[in-house]
């Protein structure tokens, strides 16, 4: 069974018919070609698939493509600009906040949303706000440092 959708992915509109069962993450990977979004579990725990839907970080593995009809999606591929990496990506690079990289797109997308919406961030708050993202490599401290740094930079820029 199919359903028609019109979804903007990283500023590019995508109008097509998809199976009703198609999850947003599969649409992003298989239809929109954004393979930076990956899946690390079946139960909505790991957060590897986090993307922005109309400006909110959500887990694209627990959302139907049909539910995103009319929405604007931002994925890891849409984060960098012509000037280079997004400050959050840069902060992750500088703080060695990634190793294997599998959880990275999801955490970066959540972190960008966190910094946009929270203006007073400390370590404890960040650790709570990224509880929906599992990372097996880093032990998280460098991730926290990267987000703190990007938050400081956002504040300076604001």
């Amino acid at each position: 069974m199919k359903t028609a959708v019109s979804i903007i992915v990283n500023d590019r509109r995508c109008e097509t018919e998809v199976p009703t069962t198609m999850l947003l993450v599969d649409f992003l990977r298989e239809v929109a070609g954004s393979k930076g979004t990956v899946v690390g579990c079946d139960t909505g725990q790991c957060g590897c698939c986090t993307v922005h839907v109309d400006g909110d970080a959500v887990k694209s593995c627990t959302m139907l493509t049909a539910q995103a009809d009319g929405a604007s999606i931002l994925t890891i591929e849409g984060l960098a600009s012509a000037d280079g990496m997004h400050p959050m990506q840069r902060a992750f690079h500088e703080h060695h906040a990634l190793q294997c990289g599998y959880c990275t797109a999801g955490i970066v997308m959540n972190a960008v949303d966190i910094v946009t919406k929270h203006h007073e961030l400390d370590e404890r708050t960040i650790r709570r706000l990224i509880e929906g993202n599992l990372c097996r490599c880093t032990g998280y401290s460098n991730i926290v440092d990267a987000i703190l740094e990007a938050a400081r930079e956002a504040k300076r820029g604001a």
Binding site: G44, D56, A57, G132, N133
Partner: protein, 272 residues
């Protein structure tokens, strides 16, 4: 990977009810946090999903001196951030702000949680603890009559939750002891005091469904202090016992979390 289903996007609440009535194996889809997860694991196989996501009027928050009413499709994140909720029932805002994780709170809805009646979900504790009223497309159901059992409510199969009305308490608190892996409530206790001698204590996570703890209510009605709550020996009978916690440990946690919820109610802070 889900079994096949038809996706239905109704134009109105009546439309949605009609769609549910027409197909016996149809299910309403709210945020989808529980339903889609179950479908992915092939634990649920509705033939039709009736998406409530675009129905105007199902989301929103309004309040008066006696109560606040929250639309069923209001997301956890919006409840947590709502100035109305934070002013009227800060414990409810804190509860909503600690459900799942922030990605989940951007999708999950009050109505979805209440209708699903997961025995370890947070919202049912607030609905029951705050003497809430579940407003459906056809009637009002008091929270004491609503939660019937494991994933079982008073809702008819074609009935849709439209909003929940929460009574404003004098003070309230919610404390959750999270499951180490899933972060659902291993035990969550909502306490609310509605003026002298009227206390409700609702417990989630500990039993097959959310329930009121009579002994705690009686003790706290006399004196609303953490010490009183700690001193109540909660019975382990009928409580869940699993790999994460025995019934005995859960019973113990009920009184500890109740005491902490009372302490919070007496001196609220921004975080639980």
């Amino acid at each position: 990977m889900m079994y096949e289903f038809a996706y239905v996007r109704p134009a109105s609440l009546e439309d949605a009810v009609r769609a549910l009535r027409m197909h016996s194996e149809a299910k309403p889809l709210a945020g989808g946090m529980s339903l889609l997860s179950a479908m992915k694991l092939r634990l649920a196989a509705p033939t039709h999903l009736v998406d409530l996501g675009r129905l105007d009027g199902l989301a929103g928050i309004a309040g008066n001196n006696q109560a606040i009413t929250i639309g069923a499709m209001t997301r956890h994140a919006d409840v947590a951030a709502s100035p109305i909720v934070r002013e009227a029932i800060p414990a409810l805002a804190v509860l909503a702000g600690d459900i799942g994780d922030r990605q989940v709170r951007h999708r999950g809805t009050l109505g979805g949680s209440v209708a699903n009646a997961d025995p370890a979900a947070c919202y049912p504790a607030a609905v029951l603890g705050l003497a809430g009223t579940i407003i459906t497309d056809r009637r009002h159901i008091g929270s004491d009559d609503f939660f019937r059992g494991l994933y079982e409510t008073a809702l008819e199969t074609d009935e849709i939750v439209a909003a929940v009305e929460f009574t404003r308490p004098a003070r309230a608190g919610y404390m959750k002891f999270p499951h180490p892996a899933s972060r659902f409530a291993l035990v969550g206790v909502f306490v609310a005091e509605f003026g002298a001698g009227n206390v409700r204590v609702a417990v989630t996570g500990a039993g097959p469904r959310v329930f009121r703890e009579a002994r705690l209510e009686a003790a706290l009605a006399k004196e609303f202090t953490p010490t009183v709550a700690s001193a109540v020996a909660v019975s382990a009978e009928g409580l869940n016992s699993d790999r994460a916690a025995s019934a005995e440990y859960r019973a113990h946690l009920v009184s500890v979390m109740a005491a902490r919820a009372v302490a919070w109610a007496l001196a609220p802070t921004s975080q639980s």
